[in-house]
């Protein structure tokens, strides 16, 4: 049976964690950006309001 050395073990483990987390976080990032768009607040000036011309 092939014994996996400590060095290789560590390399494989960290690569595995890296790609797993990438696979989880990328979709979350995509969904989060979409959420920001949903939570946008729309503001608008009332067209009938009269602005002050002279500064105080």
């Amino acid at each position: 049976m092939n014994k996996l050395g400590r060095k290789k073990f560590f390399t494989v483990t960290s690569k595995g964690i890296f790609f797993t987390l990438l696979g989880i976080t990328l979709p979350i990032k995509f969904l989060y950006s979409k959420n920001i768009q949903k939570n946008k607040i729309n503001i608008a000036v009332n067209p009938d309001a009269v602005k002050r011309m002279n500064k105080v």
Binding site: N46, A49, V50, K51
Partner: protein, 1021 residues
């Protein structure tokens, strides 16, 4: 007795401080928390091998890299090349409008940036408030951006469309009329004549409608007393600027009652030290300690239930020396039954003699003014006293109060609730009001609601009444509304929306107009706007006799925000004396008296969810985030009570449990509790903050609901931590006892001493010299002057600074640790005895010292000095050593221990909506940086860039800081000290100027004008 050296004898901030409580001593000594300054031993740390460390480091870095998201991604940036015509990015727009925060309806100017309102200030064209608004008005902008505002209409807690709401409610209203069932509308105090017209139209369309009006804060007793005396419910305003002597009877007329903005301005006109000193003299007779009481030259402790006897005794005493009116024999005999000797022992003969003497000498030039919380009898007595003294020429009949809809009586509410219980009320509409919270408990309003077929609440945010309603309809914020106001004759205010409704909300009048039209399809967002213009044209335009057409006049009125109507001054009528014999000597109250007063910053509870207002320290006690029962030191001692103890206050059948605060200066029989707290149904910020004392009021107290006699208290187990800021940021040093006398943080004098020797303040001044060459500021040199004669500790400057500079809300726990982030604070010192203290207020902010001790100690040069005299703060250089704060003798530097927007109340204010309130000109600071007052550098830069563009110099008084703009009494002056024409340069050379901790030779650029007390010469010797 009130000489400057004697008032400066012992300065103390609290009862504990005066008694050298060891806890207070410890707090002053320990600047740092336990454990922070202990030594650090590397040998005691756990071991890890280098290989393991590197492996863990690389794994962590890999995981972190994968976890990184674009958390700063706020979405797409869209270029503003298709912008609305009115909006120019980077420049502000101003709109005139009217504030609806309370019934004063002050004129406001709303500053908007890129279409969103960011600051509210007073409208200088408005003749009542003249460019100033109160603390509540300043901070009210946060209500527009409250994330827990109602956004959609609800039916039984489920979302419903407006179309369905209108359809269903119109059906219900028509059915109620057909069946002859009552439609009840409950509103607060009405200030808009156009809203009244909407009510009239509604009553025409649905004839079974009845309108009820109720508010905890109102002038109904004053109005009723005026009617009994003079036959009119509309009473005049007072010319406080013409009064030589003012006697305030339990009236906080300067800071929290009636038309206080106008009163503050008029009162402080007679507190000028520039030019001739023509000071008025203020006597305050009160049971509680109010901010007006703190301004008094003489303060007299009289419990509110004794005020009637006190005033009638003065009537008796002064009428013996002469009277402007004739008494008939019955009246004369009745008046003579009141004796001033009953008060001599309690008050002190000397003070009483001064008062009587001054009132007698100032006949026709004095005013006695009663508080709105007092009973009708006290107001009648005060009117009589003013007549005896001939003070009617101080009544300003050009500006009388206006009653649009009188308050409903107790009988009205009894009838309503009986009808509700009997099922005769089919529709109940809460028109922006919260009767479940405000109405006395024994009306049983809350339980009667279940008998009403359809209950509708119109509200901006959830409240107690909404929780019991079938329909909850969201309302526009005041900044999204059209409206008008008519609170004083001759002044018609206009309100316009400065932003279109952010959510799916409507204006309450607009909702009623849709129901009046009879069909949901008749709604338009413009319907009330058109109705308002129509009413304006019919009522106001016709009075103006203008040559311009109605539309032009309408638009120019909107531009100005106010229309001044020509008024004919009424003649003062002779006082009716028919009511006098009906009044008898009031029985002495054996128990304690509970005096309920409006909260300074929460109002009647409307602002309970406003974090800025919850965090502004109370002007007298400096308590934040709570209310309490204020007791005198003697009463507290009698019941073995100290701060934070919980007591049960009982009045008749009702009880509340509330923490105690020992307040110097209270009358021994008075318990003062502020209402507006104890809200249960509100956003997360205001929920369960404080105790609701309105539960003590029964319908028997309907007329005098603020004064509850025969109260009792008993101590119960447990404590409730009250958080105050008054021991934080202490300047006085207890290690060397006499230093607080020598240091002269507060310097005061008397008017008499100043008139004899204007230079008395600088008699013992030490010459200061420097061992280094002094830097010369050749261009602008910014400086500030604060006149302590005018500061009323109203804290409008604190609120204005918070809004202008994006100050975060930190919450009660953090305030308890001294971490509140206010860049300006108002220090309050007491001198004299705890029973009869003399209060001194001092706004404290960064002094922008020329030899700033904070600049030298910063290891990264994050704080340095600008060529125009500003102590600057560079946030992105700051690494948070806090050495600068350590070295600051004024303790004005504020450190961001957390990113408070994340830290406070689970990121309550960290959302897209509340982010809109931020001023784009001021950096929003994150965790780990120091901040402090910048003298509104953004305003200085704005003025400078305008001046450069226009090719001119900056005018002497052109730069106005936020605190200066907000201060209702103009106590704060800012400008260029190098320009001799500027107001600040003139004030810096005044005889009464001094600097705090001047002997440190750090050359602060904030100059204080010493307070003068207008006391008698016998007291001054």
């Amino acid at each position: 007795m009130n000489d400057s050296s004697k008032t400066n004898n012992v300065l103390w901030k609290s009862i504990e401080g005066l008694n050298n409580d060891p806890n207070i001593q410890k707090m002053k000594e320990d600047e740092f928390l336990d454990g922070v300054t202990e030594d650090f031993h590397p040998n005691q740390l756990s071991g890890i091998s280098r290989r393991k460390f590197l492996a863990l480091l690389s794994a962590s870095a890999a995981i972190t890299a994968t976890a990184c998201t674009d958390y700063q991604d706020k979405g797409e940036i869209i270029p503003y090349n298709k912008r609305p015509q009115e909006v120019l990015p980077g420049t502000e727009n101003l709109y005139a409008s009217t504030c609806n925060g309370c019934s004063l309806s002050c004129g406001i100017l709303v500053k908007t940036r890129e279409g969103r309102p960011i600051k509210i200030d007073g409208n200088p064209d408005h003749p009542i408030n003249e460019g100033k608004i109160c603390t509540k008005g300043q901070a009210s902008i946060l209500n527009l951006y409250d994330p827990e505002r109602l956004k959609e209409p609800l039916f039984n807690n489920r979302k419903i469309s407006w179309n369905d709401v209108d359809k269903n409610i119109i059906e219900v209203l028509e059915s109620a009329v057909q069946k002859g069932k009552e439609i009840a509308i409950l509103t607060g105090e009405l200030t808009s004549p156009t809203t009244k017209k909407v009510f009239d139209k509604f009553s025409e369309k649905y004839p079974t409608t009845k309108i009820y009006s109720y508010s905890t804060i109102n002038q109904s007793t004053r109005s009723k007393a005026w009617f009994e005396c003079y036959g009119s419910y509309e009473f005049p305003s007072i010319k406080f600027d013409e009064a030589n002597v003012i006697l305030a009877i339990d009236s906080d007329f300067l800071v929290n009652e009636d038309s206080y903005l106008e009163n503050m301005r008029l009162f402080t006109k007679r507190r000028e030290v520039v030019g001739k000193t023509d000071f008025n003299r203020l006597y305050v007779a009160e049971g509680r300690m109010s901010a007006t009481g703190m301004m008094a030259d003489y303060r007299i402790r009289v419990s509110p239930d004794e005020q009637y006897n006190f005033v009638m005794s003065l009537v008796n005493e002064l009428s013996k020396k002469g009277s402007n009116i004739e008494f008939d024999p019955v009246t004369k005999s009745m008046v003579s039954s009141f004796s001033i000797n009953n008060f001599s022992k309690k008050i002190g003969k000397e003070k009483l003699n001064y008062l009587i003497d001054d009132l007698n000498k100032s006949r026709g030039k004095s005013i006695v003014y009663a508080g709105s919380t007092l009973s009708k009898e006290v107001h009648l007595a005060v009117n009589l006293l003013n007549e005896v003294l001939g003070n009617s020429n101080l009544y300003n009949y050009l500006n009388e109060s206006v009653v649009i809809l009188p308050q409903s009586s107790r009988e009205d509410f009894d009838r309503l609730i009986d009808s509700m219980k009997n099922g005769n009320v089919d529709v109940l509409i809460h028109f922006g009001s919260d009767p479940v919270f405000y109405l006395p408990y024994d009306f049983e309003y809350q339980s009667s609601i279940s008998r009403v077929k359809t209950v509708i609440s119109l509200s901006e945010s959830l409240n107690e009444s909404c929780s019991l309603s079938h329909y909850v309809l969201p309302l526009n914020n005041q900044l999204e509304c059209w409206g008008d106001s008519f609170v004083q004759t001759g002044v018609y205010g206009l309100q316009q929306p400065v932003i279109s409704p952010i959510f799916n909300t409507r204006q309450k009048e607009s909702i009623l107009l849709t129901w009046i039209s009879g069909s949901s399809s008749n709604f338009s967002s413009d319907n009330y706007h058109k109705f308002l213009i129509e009413n304006f044209t019919q009522t106001v335009y016709t009075k103006l006799n203008s040559f311009s057409d109605a539309k032009r006049v309408w638009l120019s009125s909107l531009h100005d925000g106010v229309v001044t109507l020509k008024n004919v001054e009424k003649l003062h009528k002779k006082i009716s004396q028919s009511w006098i014999p009906l009044l008898k000597l009031a029985k002495e109250n054996s128990g304690l008296t509970v005096h309920l007063t409006e909260s300074y910053f929460i109002g009647d509870g409307y602002f309970a969810n406003n974090g800025w207002l919850q965090e502004v320290p109370h002007p007298i006690t400096k308590v934040t985030w709570d209310n309490y029962a204020a007791l005198s030191p003697l009463t507290a001692k009698k019941f073995n009570l100290k701060n934070d103890d919980i007591i049960e206050v009982s009045v008749s059948n009702s009880k509340i449990k509330i923490p105690v605060f020992v307040q110097p200066g209270l009358s021994d029989k008075t318990i003062n509790i502020e209402y507006g707290y104890g809200r249960k149904v509100i956003g997360d910020v205001g929920k369960d903050i404080g105790i609701n004392p309105l539960q003590l009021i029964s319908k028997n107290h309907f007329e005098t609901k603020n004064i509850l006699t025969n109260a009792s208290i008993n101590k119960i187990d447990g404590t409730h931590k009250l958080v105050t800021t008054q021991e934080h940021h202490s300047l006085d040093d207890t290690f060397v006892k006499d230093f607080h006398k020598i240091r002269k943080i507060i310097q005061e004098g008397t008017v008499e001493k100043y008139q004899k020797d204007p230079k008395f303040l600088h008699e013992h001044k030490h010459e200061l010299f420097s061992i280094t060459n002094e830097h010369t500021y050749s261009g602008n040199k910014w400086a500030m002057a604060i006149d302590l004669n005018k500061c009323t500790s109203c804290a409008a400057c604190v609120a204005s600074c918070n809004v202008e500079n994006n100050i975060p809300v930190v919450g009660k726990d953090q305030v308890g640790k001294g971490r509140e982030m206010h860049w300006i604070r108002i220090d309050r010192y007491f001198s004299g005895s705890p029973e009869d203290p003399i209060a001194s207020n001092q706004p404290m902010l960064c002094q922008h010292c020329d030899n700033a001790p904070c600049e030298n100690v910063c290891p990264v040069n994050a704080t340095n000095h600008s060529p125009d005299g500003l102590n600057q703060m560079v946030y992105n250089r700051c690494v948070g050593t806090r050495y600068c704060s350590n070295n600051c003798p004024y303790k004005v530097r504020r450190y961001n221990f957390f990113d408070f927007r994340d830290h406070f109340a689970d990121e309550y204010y960290q959302n897209n909506l509340t982010a809109l309130v931020n001023n784009p000109e001021v950096t929003v600071r994150s965790r780990g940086v120091m901040e402090k007052c910048t003298f509104c550098v953004q305003r200085i830069m704005d003025v400078r860039s305008t001046a450069i563009n226009e090719g001119r110099e900056i005018s002497p008084n052109e730069v106005v800081t936020a605190c200066q703009q907000a201060c209702p009494t103009n106590a704060i002056t800012f400008g260029d000290a190098n320009n001799p024409d500027s107001n600040v340069a003139k004030l810096r050379n005044h005889n009464l100027t001094y600097h705090v901790l001047e002997e440190l030779n750090i050359k602060p650029n904030v100059t204080y004008i010493a307070k003068l007390r207008n006391t008698h010469s016998e007291d001054n010797s």
